[in-house]
């Protein structure tokens, strides 16, 4: 099979799976449904690996033309290059694992077949997003993943207690994404207006020629619009509040969509558009600061969250913020690297938490957990690996990727580096808090729950183990070159021709000495926090505080810095007020009343006119005489 057909197969397999499960899944046994869904994912992944291995240069596969008008055409095309293939690998790979995990996790769910349909559909949309050769395809997939995300967040919509709430969370996610989408769409229009095409290759080629470059302001607007789109999907300030709420969905969904893949679409967008962003330094600055603030804010909020998934969600937001900081500094390959490792360990963490929740009979509150390491050893182990990875424990994947970003930061500005270090430290703090509270100490849940505690089945633990391995060794992909010179910065090199933009940026690297210095600082920080946490939670046996005993910053953190309330006050309430008042005032009072007023006036004047019709002959004759008088007077006046 040629690459064209393979790539098509990669795309088509999830779709076929979704279609098959969607149509026939209802009447098939769950095992079969799950196996098919998972099977196509693994197959897809395998094909992706083949393509990845065989394809070395950029290739565009033309499928069909969506629209052709005189001015432009929008085509369904696939672009096979390093970036897209790398992302494909992540998506299909992690996707396959999470599918496998879901087979166990969702076992007892009534909507089993639906779940896998949606998941497959999601993978399909995500693949379109990353494989498309133009912004239009990207937008296509972009919206597609939004819907799948919506469907999956609100998956338990008919839950007796939380059905509506799940729905509201899903809606919130969708609408916030839509706001970002609008920004993206406008960016697309601007691009189309300026260049007349949406193809990446044509655009980047056009941008290379100075004469074709639009003015700074236009470029700024374009990039800002794209960035707004990215903030929506990648949960950055101001559009980040949907992501924690999105945890209402089943845990595998959180792992796949809201940690590993979909939320990185914004990152992908910026990396893809590097040829624009490189020439828009102002946007880069904005991106950098927004990323930084997001990272800190999210990390801060995560400190006092008690829902295991919420902690992970804020951690995701924080990590994404980190990535945007890196993007703001133009460190595209570093970001992709971090995306990759983040996908590994965050998926791992989420799946681990899923396993915990599974074991805890759907309890998510960490205050009711504790001491779980005895009961679910595999989960414990893998979760620990994930925690260490995200906290930047030496030689785990997170360590390398985070380090690379930090290295860029210190080259950029030491203040940013400081803040980033703060963010990293906070990450370690809340992650260790989470870990210790869940797995150490005494079990704090009910007896009933305790009796049900059990390790997850094989199809859930295998993905955990695989991801754990990846989390450990993921760093190999892009070693900083201190240890093995031969595979130094492999990923960066691989991605280079996609991401070096206009060849304007020379990717600098710190000297080995500086690198080691930085690394040691980070490692020291992590280790200190690890030790302190260990003493604090395990030795002193501190527990998570009750909400009522929060003080000072804890209140702010626990209440998510009141973002929801502020948004509610600033946007939701005014719009609802506007909706109500414009209905009541404009629609009923002004428009309807003006019509009915007109009608009323007409019929009232009808009543007046009818009064003249008194029924008395003398009056009629009188009117006639008046008519004649009128005519004569008319004559007198006019002639």
């Amino acid at each position: 099979m040629s690459v064209d057909q393979l790539i098509l197969a990669i795309l088509a397999l999830p779709l076929l799976g979704a279609f098959f499960n969607g149509v026939f899944g209802k009447n098939l046994p769950n095992v079969l449904v799950g196996s098919i869904a998972t099977g196509v994912m693994f197959l897809s992944f395998a094909l992706a690996v083949i393509v990845f291995g065989s394809q070395s240069e950029e290739k565009i596969v033309h499928l069909f033309s969506l629209i052709t008008t005189k001015d432009f055409s929008l085509n369904a095309r696939i672009q096979v290059d390093a970036l897209s293939m790398w992302m494909t690998l992540i998506v299909t790979g992690i996707g396959a694992l999470i599918h496998l995990f879901s087979m166990g996790y969702m076992k007892k769910d009534a909507g089993y077949y639906k779940f896998f349909t949606y998941l497959n559909l999601f993978i399909f949309a995500m693949l379109i997003l990353i494989l498309g050769s133009n912004y239009f395809m990207l937008f296509f997939g972009w919206e597609g993943v939004g819907i799948c995300s919506y469907l999956l967040i609100g998956f338990h919509y008919s839950d007796v207690q939380k059905g509506m709430l799940n729905g509201i969370a899903a809606r919130k996610a969708f609408i916030m994404n839509r706001i970002g989408d609008l920004g993206l769409l406008i960016g697309l229009f601007l691009i189309l207006d300026q260049f007349g095409t949406l193809e990446y290759s044509e655009l980047s080629a056009a941008m290379l020629i100075e004469a074709n470059q639009p003015t700074v302001w236009v470029l700024f607007t374009i990039t800002m619009c794209l960035f707004i789109g990215a903030t929506g999907k990648s949960a950055q300030i101001p559009l980040f509040t949907w992501l924690p709420d999105a945890m209402a969905g089943p845990t595998p969904v959180s792992a796949l969509i809201h940690a590993a893949t979909m939320v990185t679409a914004g990152i992908f967008l910026v990396v893809r558009s590097n040829f624009f962003f490189e020439l828009a330094p102002m946007t880069q600055e904005i991106m950098l600061y927004i990323g930084l603030v997001t990272s800190l804010v999210a990390a801060f909020i995560a400190l006092r969250q008690n829902d295991i998934k919420k902690v992970l969600a804020y951690s995701t937001v924080s990590q994404l913020g980190l990535m945007f900081v890196a993007l703001g500094m133009g460190a595209y390959t570093a970001v992709i690297f971090h995306v990759t490792t983040h996908a590994f360990f965050k998926a791992l963490l989420f799946l681990g938490s899923g396993s915990v929740i599974h074991a805890m009979s759907d309890e998510q509150d960490i205050r009711k957990m504790g001491g779980l390491k005895k009961f679910i050893p595999i989960t414990h182990l893998t979760f620990l690996i994930g925690t260490l990875a995200i906290a930047g424990f030496p030689f785990l994947s997170g360590f390398y990727s985070k380090d690379e970003i930090l290295a860029h930061a210190i080259m950029h500005s030491s203040i940013i580096y400081t803040f980033l270090m703060l963010s990293v430290a906070l990450t370690a703090v809340y992650m260790f808090r989470l870990y210790f509270l869940v797995f150490h100490g005494n079990f704090r849940g009910s007896e009933e729950t305790k009796n049900h505690l059990h390790e997850s089945p094989w199809n859930m633990t295998i993905p955990l183990l695989v991801l754990a391995v990846l989390s450990i060794f993921g760093g190999i992909l892009n070693l900083p070159g201190i240890v093995f010179h031969s595979c130094k910065q492999w990923l960066s090199h691989y991605l280079n021709y996609n991401t070096d933009g206009l060849n304007l940026v020379e990717t600098e690297h710190l000297s080995n000495y500086d690198s080691i210095l930085l690394m040691s600082a980070a490692v020291a920080l992590t280790l200190i926090i690890l030790l302190v946490s260990f003493f604090y939670y395990v030795k002193k046996g501190k527990l998570a505080k009750e909400d009522s005993s929060w003080k000072g910053w804890e209140i702010a953190s626990g209440n998510k810095l009141y973002f929801d309330e502020i948004y509610n006050f600033l946007f939701v309430k005014p719009i609802e007020w506007l909706a109500k008042s414009s209905y009541q005032f404009m629609e009923i009072m002004v428009l309807n009343k003006s019509i009915s007023g007109l009608v009323g006036a007409i019929s009232r004047s009808g009543l007046i006119v009818r009064k003249w019709q008194s029924g008395i002959i003398a009056n009629y004759l009188f009117w006639m005489v008046l008519g004649i008088i009128g005519l004569v007077v008319y004559y007198l006046l006019k002639f």
Partner: protein, 453 residues
């Protein structure tokens, strides 16, 4: 001329045949006579008439032939559609029908006149039998009242008309339309005498077509008179009045256009508004028809206002569609035969009797100028002929059409909606004759608009 004689003779014969106390014979005679008359009229379109007299008081132009045959056709439809009413009192059937026939003699005179003698006589022959017919249901108090009102206002307007004729005579020295026209165009007659005379004649003509402020009689009289007579007044008298108006004012007094057009403009606007506004909120069917006929008089007068050539054709089309619509409605009300004439008694009629419902929709929407019914085309032609000179007038008329549709619609809704108690709604059984009338009307309303070549 020969048609005139035939109609008159038919009327006479009817009276005598009625002595046999067999209403059917009267009907057959009237039908045959009218058809003969219409045939003779139409044959004049191609050939010279059989009788030719020295006196030229009557002249049948082509448009005159059309108008008079239409008037006779309307009379014909009224007679057969209202037959169920006429035969109720056997001893009067002959009188009813012959009075209508005599009246239609007047109608033809009033269409074909060439001097004011025939105009005046035609007007009176047209009106006097109808004064009687309005009061013909003698036990009915309202009928008597209507008759009295019609008579007094009518006689009063006759006085005004004669006063106007006298002044015009004084100014021009003649009763011949041709001579008057010449006198006016030569300018030898201009002056207050002529102007006031013309305005007086206009007042009387406006009375006949029931335009404001000379319209007051029509709602009362329409309501009070028997249904068939209302139909006759709304169709034939209005048609004839309009044509006489047109003939007098666009031809004879055509050179005084600047005088009467201004006055007519204002009165048309007044008429349309009064007619339509008063019609809103009416609960009596025939009263509604009366107000709508007032409004329609306003629209039709626009044809007379317009100085475009062919306004007589436009008027003919307009009156054609209007007449058939009214005849349909009147026939239905004859079929329903409701003394109270309230809207409420029409509730659900159309739903229970689909054909009647169909005809109701057809005629009411034709009145409201909804295509493809003929009413739309009539209105369209009239309005478009006047738009160039009087855009504002046309806009007023259009606004009024908008108001008008409201009350037609209320009636349609009442007639077509499902009644609460289905058993109360009668199943109507129109006679064969009424079916014929309705079918003729339906064909006319549906197709006429398209064949104005």
């Amino acid at each position: 001329m020969d048609a005139l004689i035939v109609v008159f003779l038919t009327g006479l014969i009817c009276m005598f045949i009625a002595m046999a106390k067999k209403p059917v014979y009267v009907l057959i005679t009237a039908v045959v006579g009218l058809m003969l008359a219409i045939g003779l009229l139409l044959s004049q379109w191609f050939n010279p008439p059989l009788f030719q007299l020295n006196y030229e008081g009557l002249e049948f132009t082509k448009i005159g032939i059309l108008f008079s045959s239409l008037a006779l056709l309307f009379t014909f439809l009224i007679i057969i559609g209202g037959y169920s009413y006429f035969k109720k009192e056997v001893e009067h059937t002959g009188e009813y029908i012959s009075l209508l026939l005599f009246s239609s003699v007047g109608a033809v005179c009033m269409i074909a006149f060439t001097d004011l003698f025939m105009f005046f006589l035609g007007l009176e022959i047209l009106s006097i039998p109808i004064y009687v017919m309005v009061g013909s249901s003698k036990k009915d108090l309202l009928s008597a009242e209507a008759s009295l009102k019609y008579f007094f206002t009518g006689a009063f307007s006759t006085g005004i008309l004669l006063f106007g004729i006298a002044w015009v005579y004084g100014a021009t020295g003649s009763f011949q339309l041709k001579e008057i026209e010449v006198a006016i165009s030569e300018g030898s007659a201009s002056g207050p005498l002529l102007s006031i005379g013309i305005l007086m004649i206009m007042s009387a003509s406006l009375f006949k077509v029931s335009a404001a402020p000379f319209h007051f009689w029509s709602p009362d009289v329409y309501q009070g008179s028997p249904n068939a007579v209302t139909g006759y007044m709304a169709s034939v008298i209005k048609l004839v009045g309009m044509f006489a108006f047109l003939k007098l004012f666009t031809v004879t007094f055509g050179d005084m256009y600047s005088l009467w057009s201004g006055a007519l403009y204002g009165l048309i606007v007044l008429t349309m508004f009064i007619g339509n506004l008063s019609a809103i909120g009416q609960t009596k069917f025939k009263r509604l028809m009366a107000y709508s006929s007032i409004a329609h008089a306003g629209y039709a007068l626009i044809a007379i206002m317009s100085q475009e050539p062919g306004s007589d054709w436009n008027l003919w089309n307009y009156m054609f569609s209007y007449g058939f619509s009214i005849l349909t409605l009147i026939t239905i009300s004859i079929v329903l035969d409701d003394k109270e004439d309230e809207f409420s008694s029409y509730k659900g009629i159309g739903r229970k009797n689909p054909f009647i419902g169909f005809m109701l929709v057809l005629s009411l929407f034709s009145l409201a100028a909804l295509p493809p019914m003929a009413g739309f085309f009539g209105k369209f032609m009239v309005f478009s002929s006047a738009f160039n000179d009087y855009p504002m007038l046309v806009i007023f008329a259009i606004i009024n059409s908008g108001i008008g549709v409201y009350y037609y619609l209320t009636f349609v809704i009442a007639a077509l909606s499902k009644p609460e108690d289905d058993s109360l709604v009668p199943v109507l059984k129109p006679s064969i004759l009424q079916y014929i009338v309705l079918v003729i009307c339906a064909i006319a309303l549906l197709t006429a608009g398209f064949f104005v070549v």
